[in-house]
């Protein structure tokens, strides 16, 4: 059974190791992973700006590319939510390919937790970790219970996965799921509030004595890391896929760590 990998544009260009780690994670679980060539973007930036006419062709392209696969996995809650919740008006009602892609696209954590039901990852990550709950994964895909709602019995899928990694100690920020302030184009349309929100998140995680902030969405971390590095703080950020692959703690250089390149 083959699984298609859907890599968000900003991960492809700026954080390729997150996609490598995702690929390796899936391969380690015994899956045959395909990376359909020619993929670019889910269309979210255009859609969120209000440019539906520009988002539509990009969305249709994605559906066309992935329609043949029974499972599509994406290491981003926001891109996954885009496909599952916000693609409807780009397609005719009853469009078979769209329906297929919509019901076959999974965010990485929910895929590992619910579909693969991963038991172990065989890695150690002996660091103080604080989780940043990315909003789309949380409130659109319900990867965990949001602090606002009272749906009892909701699982925390990220936490379930991280609990299977040895050595992690937990740092808890005061506000468990407040938004980081990235919000896509929000980061440049409302730069002052965006930066204030990001700085507050960072201060909260630092006050919890965290070594590394882990999230399911690299876009949040891109914004937070930008603020962290400008401020000179030593707080690290890592995508959950990197932790589950036991990557060493390091500042994001953007490059793929040498050790993960297979040597055959």
């Amino acid at each position: 059974m083959s699984v298609a990998l859907f890599v968000p544009c900003y991960i492809d260009q700026f954080y390729p190791d997150v996609a490598v780690a995702t690929l390796e994670l899936l391969e380690r679980q015994g899956l045959d992973v395909v990376f359909p060539r020619g993929q670019t973007c889910c269309g979210q930036p255009m859609a969120n700006t209000g440019c539906s006419a520009d988002a539509a062709p990009v969305a249709r392209r994605l559906v066309e590319l992935f329609a043949e696969f029974d499972q599509v996995v994406c290491p981003s809650g926001s891109c996954t939510a885009m496909v599952r919740h916000h693609y409807e008006h780009y397609f005719e009602p009853g469009d078979a390919k769209y329906e297929k892609v919509r019901s076959s696209t999974f965010e990485l954590c929910e895929f590992l937790a619910d579909v693969v039901k991963a038991e172990s990852f065989g890695v150690r990550f002996p660091h103080r970790v604080s989780v940043h709950q990315s909003c789309h994964g949380l409130r659109e895909l319900r990867l965990a219970a949001s602090s606002e709602t009272r749906f009892y019995g909701t699982r925390d899928k990220m936490r379930e996965l991280l609990d299977k990694v040895d050595g992690i100690t937990w740092a808890k920020p005061q506000r468990s799921d407040e938004c980081c302030g990235f919000g896509g184009t929000f980061a440049v349309n409302e730069p002052d509030v965006s930066v204030a929100m990001g700085r507050d998140r960072i201060a909260d995680h630092l006050a919890a004595d965290s070594e590394v902030m882990v999230a399911g969405d690299m876009s949040c971390l891109m914004h937070l890391d930008g603020l962290i590095r400008r401020s000179g703080s030593s707080l690290k950020v890592m995508h959950i896929s990197q932790v589950l692959m036991g990557r060493p703690l390091q500042t994001h250089t953007g490059n793929v760590p040498q050790s993960t390149i297979p040597c055959n």
């Binding site: 390729p16 996609a19 969120n48 209000g50 539906s52 730069p191």
Partner: protein, 504 residues
């Protein structure tokens, strides 16, 4: 009926205001500054959009943290109340269904309400817009020679700019909700629909009260200041000739109206004078008496983190056969909003303010930065319906985090509606070129993988080789406060081609 009342011996607390003394009338004669006003532009500044106003707010880092902390504190209290009710999510679902039913059946419910209310002795008026609402209120007062009206909280009357309308016509309007009174004395507008003075520090309240109420200079103890206000407003209550209240819920089945307060000011305003005017946006109508059980369990818990407001008053008809109860049903754009399948559910809003308390943007930019009577997430959904150009920045004053949707007691999908507004602006051709151009370019790029890959390689190479100032400068809004991501030598697609594809 006599309009001058014998002055009884009044137990007024210290700092009281024997109403009617000459120097006290001045505050209500000055024009009030409102953010937006249909009855003449009172503001001397041009309208500034949300990012511009937010920039000023955020610049005061300490004050922003204080404002953010105050609202987060209320959000926490709300959370505690939600935890106290095991069936919390079920109640939200019930509330949503009741409001959906009410919105759908609005004409029949309003007619039913009107008939029942009239049978109980109330007079029911209908107002198409703010201007007509204000005129109706004025005519009621004028006919009875009223020159002093006491008012309790009504966001609808804020929306209609009733105070300035009446003051221009020689009627003294006293806001009795403490927060509203504070902003009224400071000649400001409320910054939050439930906590009108949340943006004001106690020292500032102290200054205002020193100036207008005669409290000690430099005093800022909330207990002392509230006591002074109690005395001052008690005098106003006793000399009010008419009272105006808002309506939290209007019950179609019984013709009754429900008003929820903590201070008791609405009740004093409704029971002491012989005329009670109650204004409602038409969406306040609910079908049955029993529906109140759901809303009275959700409202205060969502708004301020209390199990219920101190007073939940149910008015059925006037206070006695010699008094008057006037109920004004107001449209002012609501019928239009109701036409839209996408935005219709926003009419279910019970004005609890929970969305504002939870919104990370609202907490860090303040209600005044929204430039409208109702700010925050719900305001950003409602305001563009009245003026899409003026309020264009509001749906973008949002990171789409979805917290508002998760706290809304009636489950309005607020963040999805904000996104829908952005798309609506796109359809209406309202988006500025600095928004549309980059998106057109991006769309072309994303449709063409070869160009996308090439652009990526060139861009990353440029970032690795060109001097820093090319990318980190004041034209690049990202770089003003953030480092750019470090540009990798290879994209994932390039890595994959080398490490997986070629191996197959």
């Amino acid at each position: 009926m006599s309009t001058t009342l014998p002055l009884p011996v009044v137990n007024i607390a210290s700092g009281g205001d024997p109403s009617g003394s000459p120097q006290r009338r001045s505050e209500s004669q000055l024009p009030i500054h409102y953010a937006d006003s249909p009855s003449g532009d009172h503001s001397t500044e041009p309208h500034r959009d949300h990012p511009a106003m937010a920039k000023d707010f955020v610049a005061d880092v300490q004050r922003t943290h204080w404002h953010d902390g105050a609202l987060w504190f209320i959000r926490n209290k709300r959370d505690a109340q939600a935890s106290a009710i095991p069936e919390w999510e079920y109640l939200r679902q019930c509330a949503s269904e009741i409001k959906t039913e009410a919105i759908a059946n609005m004409p029949d419910l309003l007619v039913q309400f009107e008939a029942k209310a009239k049978a109980l002795g109330a007079v029911v008026h209908w107002a198409i817009d703010a201007e007509e609402h204000n005129r109706i209120v004025y005519e009621i007062l004028q006919r009875r020679g009223v020159i002093r009206m006491i008012k309790s909280k009504s966001m609808l009357t804020e929306e209609c700019h009733l105070n300035s309308y009446l003051e221009e016509r020689g009627i003294e309007v006293i806001d009795t909700d403490l927060g509203e009174r504070i902003v009224q004395l400071r000649r400001e507008t409320p910054s939050h629909i439930v906590l009108p003075a949340i943006h004001i520090k106690k020292e500032e309240v102290g200054e205002t009260f020193h100036q207008h109420l005669g409290t000690d200079a430099g005093a800022s103890d909330p207990q002392y200041l509230t006591e002074a206000a109690r005395g001052h407003l008690r005098g106003k209550f006793l000399h009010g000739e008419a009272g105006l209240t808002g309506i939290n819920f209007a019950i179609a089945e019984t013709g009754g109206i429900v008003v929820c307060t903590n201070e008791g000011n609405a009740d004093l305003g409704a029971v002491l004078p012989p005329i009670h005017i109650a204004s409602m946006g038409m969406e306040k109508i609910i079908p049955r008496l029993e529906d109140l059980s759901v809303f009275t369990r959700l409202l205060a818990r969502s708004a301020t983190g209390q199990p219920i407001t101190t007073y939940t008053s149910h008015f059925h008809g006037p206070r006695d056969p010699d008094s008057e109860l006037h109920i004004i049903i107001v449209d002012n754009g609501r019928t239009e909003l109701r036409q839209s399948e996408t935005f219709r559910s926003a009419l279910g809003c019970i004005r609890c303010g929970a969305c504002m308390n939870t919104c990370p943007v609202f907490r860090r930019s303040g209600g005044h930065s929204y430039g409208a009577t109702v700010p925050g997430p719900i305001g950003s959904v409602l305001n563009p319906a009245t003026d899409d150009k003026k309020h264009q920045s509001l749906p973008y004053a949002c990171s789409l985090c979805g917290s508002c949707t998760d706290v809304c007691p009636v489950k309005i999908p607020l963040h999805h509606q904000l996104l829908a507004w952005r798309q609506e602006f796109g359809k209406r051709g309202l988006l500025s070129i600095d928004k549309t151009m980059p998106m057109k370019a991006a769309s072309l790029l994303f449709r063409n993988p070869r160009i996308y890959n090439l652009a990526g390689r060139i861009g990353r190479a440029a970032m690795r080789t060109l001097p820093r100032f090319v990318f980190v400068n004041r034209f690049n809004m990202w770089s003003r406060d953030r480092e750019l991501p470090a540009p990798p030598a290879e994209s994932f697609a390039q890595w994959y081609a080398k490490n997986r594809e070629n191996k197959k």
